[in-house]
Symmetry: C2
Subunit: 172 residues, 2 copies
DNA sequence: ATCTATTTGCAAGTCATTTGCAATAACAAC
DNA sequence: GTTGTTATTGCAAATGACTTGCAAATAGAT
């Protein structure tokens, strides 16, 4: 998408926004720059906290509204991360190539992973169904090498037991 | 997982549930059988509606609680479908092989797609990272062949405009 | 500097999902 | 079959992410 690349080249959303009749407000710039600077995905609450360091008056609605705009502009991706971290959405500045989020169901760690097969999926879909892929979201759950070592291969008991929500490994 | 296969073979959850100290209530059976019979993903509300046809007194909390149990037992998968259909979760009885949900951003249609490359991803992750994959969720957004024909290749204007929530194509 | 449409912040809503709790029912042991 | 224990249910109330209405503020074109 040439539009997006152009916007990036001038260090922001200026051109892209202008072409859509959107305005580049202080808040909008800030929210985008936070996502751009973050090396990882953030949820609305985290973005709000970060934004308030620079603009204490900024409201959460502004975060939500701008995330919606940035999604429409396709410069930000929305993820769901398997609800591993609770029921919020996570956002990240759009990456160049497809990648997946891999979550360890034992320790809760989330990392990104890329392999060429991801591109192959899109190509197959295009060829077999004539579908034009805009974005692909791949989320993988399982057990990381460390946890496998630590606890043997078998996942913890499936029996439910209470754990604080923010910590719960939420096996799916 | 041999446990799951066993449970399936006897036509339900009996063995699997017993081994976890869980009870096979009327409601639990019903909810599982609805998902098993459905050829597609359903959300909590749809499951409740269907369940009430057979058990009018069944409550929505029972749906939610049992979906959580069935997820833990790994006989039901939870999807998010890109929030194309609103902010609810969708559930389906666990399928044998990995598959993806492909959503058309224009008409809202969701279909399933499988290509061997999906398996390749899991293998790459296993080989490169020593990660044990439990499940893979692939969600793809874009434009289906029909909509591409109808409206030309370009997606609708990116400019925001109000559309009832249940209908909005929610471009990401 | 002016004008107009977009955007903001606040307050109040919405809605899926969760939790507390007493009553009910599974199922194992008699 | 009866009994006892404990998981599960249904109800009502709460939670929490996200959205909406609206008047005031401001970006950006003229």
């Amino acid at each position: 998408m040439p539009l997006i690349r152009q916007a990036r080249r001038q260090g922001g959303l200026a051109l892209l926004a202008k072409q859509q009749g959107l305005r580049l407000t202080r808040q909008r710039r800030l929210i985008y720059s936070i996502l751009e600077a973050a090396q990882t995905h953030l949820n609305a609450k985290q973005i709000l906290a970060e934004a308030q360091k620079f603009d204490p008056g900024i409201d959460q609605v502004t975060i939500y509204r701008n995330l919606a705009v940035l999604k429409r502009l396709r410069v930000v991706d929305e993820l769901d991360l398997l609800h591993l971290k609770g029921d919020q959405h996570y956002y990240e500045a759009r990456q160049v190539r497809a990648h997946s989020h891999v979550a360890c169901l034992s320790c809760g760690k989330v990392f990104e992973f890329y392999t060429p097969a991801m591109k192959t999926i899109d190509q197959a879909l295009e060829k077999e169904c004539g579908f034009e892929v805009s974005f692909t979201r791949i989320e993988i759950g399982g057990y990381c090498a460390e946890c496998r070592k630590k606890r043997g291969v078998s996942p913890a008991s499936l029996k439910g037991h209470k754990v604080p929500r923010s910590v719960e490994p939420e096996r799916i």
